[in-house]
Symmetry: C2
Amino acid sequence: MNSPVHKPTSIKDIARIANVSSSTVSRALHNSHLISRRTAERIQSIAKESGYSASAIARGLVTQRTKTIGVVVTSISDPFVSDVVNGIEEYANDHGYSVFLANSNAEPERETKVVQSFSERRVEGIVVTSSRVGALYRPLLSEMRIPIVLVNNQHPGEFVNSVLIDNVKGSADVTNHLIQLGHRRIAYIGDRFGYQSDMERLTGYREALERADLPFTPELVVHGDGKCEGGMIGVEMLLSLPKSPTAIFCYNDMTALGALRQLNLKKISVPGDISVIGFDDLFIASFTQPPLTTVRQPRRLMGRLAMESLLKLISGEDSATTIKVPAELIVRESTAPPREDLQ
Amino acid sequence: MNSPVHKPTSIKDIARIANVSSSTVSRALHNSHLISRRTAERIQSIAKESGYSASAIARGLVTQRTKTIGVVVTSISDPFVSDVVNGIEEYANDHGYSVFLANSNAEPERETKVVQSFSERRVEGIVVTSSRVGALYRPLLSEMRIPIVLVNNQHPGEFVNSVLIDNVKGSADVTNHLIQLGHRRIAYIGDRFGYQSDMERLTGYREALERADLPFTPELVVHGDGKCEGGMIGVEMLLSLPKSPTAIFCYNDMTALGALRQLNLKKISVPGDISVIGFDDLFIASFTQPPLTTVRQPRRLMGRLAMESLLKLISGEDSATTIKVPAELIVRESTAPPREDLQ
DNA sequence: CTGAAAGCGCTTACAG
DNA sequence: CTGAAAGCGCTTACAG
């Protein structure tokens, strides 16, 4: 009934066995050049035999460096988030850091708790991957005076860097792809909640039209809800226009999914009658009918870059405070030239 | 250019300000009943004002309890894994534990490194969520003499518990659902790599047939590869039979996705001509045409149960070494009674 | 109720 | 090359 935790062997135990001081053991285990090769090897083999595992806790206390970082996410179940975390963890691990993971669920109390716990554990830095960094959150984070990197979120400040997707460029790429296919009436189904990603993608769309000397037609911009339903409603609105678009740019894949569904219900062929394009490259995007042309965010890379940026912040190196990552257009089968009679 | 890490205020600093000993500060901060309310409150407010954050590192060293656990996953990008981790983290956090996350990528060297790092950090327990626990892995884990809980993996031993999905029961539920709809010729598309989940689901299928006095027909069992392609090929094989099945049970959703695709190509209506059913309830399952009937594993719950089980192991409580979790049949639109002329 | 002291397991100047 | 000593920031018997 008592705890199964055994007291691990310590540096002292090794010292006793090897008949040296614990300073010598410590040095031997670190391959200090102060130690004779023979002694070092002897001690190392004793350590291995006795299953010695150095206490990072004790080391952390004396060196004041824990070699840990904290990652706060809204939800690790979000595939975007888990890919980013994958990249963070990989880079961290390769550089001797361990990562604490905490979900905030976007609940303010949890956010506070999580950050306090990170602070007590003396993490050397924090990466925040959440759709929006809560208002309550910011003062908390800056009060800690710990290096922070934000992913897809900007909030410049001392010790705060950001890694961001280049939404404007990605969106312009999408629009250009459609223009090059010959489309002239290109619709945009956005969101209605004023998310920054939506705003930036709309900007990229407008800029691309302008560069191609195409008119911006306000009625071709409608607002969904970022979900399947929004895409369906958006398509409905666009089809009721006097003149339908020949291509629809959905600001995310879920919206595009709804658009495809509604067009399918209406027996409108994609890409025969209308081209559809998304943004995100969800797993599902390659399995839609037809497979969806979309934009991929290099999620893992973003995680790695975030961690790289954090390590620079930790070491006090000067570095870019904002890193813009290019998005990649993935052309599948939902886009094609417009039908000639629609031109 | 120097490190931005500030030395945090310690118990000593507070003691100096409050004009008491550090023992008193320590007690006041823990709400020890040995302290007068007045003193306690005074000290607490000083601590708050000076932004004091207790060092979990130092506390861990003296109490020999770090209140941390480690989670090893093959890849956090796997949606099954991230949901499980979500549950683990939630339960852990609610019980004052922080979680270290590490990807093994199923690479033996990484697995070793990860476990060593967990050991050095003195985690109180480990949860392993990986498709298979590597051979190299087991001795390592047991050598550590740290409580371990395996998710969807069994390897009984001292200090090792498991949380498992009840595949046999889940699969029998699927088969019964089809039998109750009136199906008599029910096919099974499995895998070809001998995964335990595949084996168990095949067993559930056979047992259900037997209980319903239906014959087991070997040619109705074919082998895919767990992916879309395997499902397509499996369907092809089943359609070439002298007598086609009226329902197809795919051992996972990706296989079912392929099955749906191939049936669609062949202009065979689902569920009109043939019913299709999957297993996993991937996100994509509700977006297929028609939406897929499938089986959901309560992933988050499994994570929570794993953590609960781990805490029991840590506290030395006696508890079930194996927890079987029921799977849930999700009936959508890909299953229906067989056509009368096919009966 | 409060404080002085020991100790958790390391690292690292300091002295030899 | 090696060891004794101090100290990281806490907790907790022990004494008062």
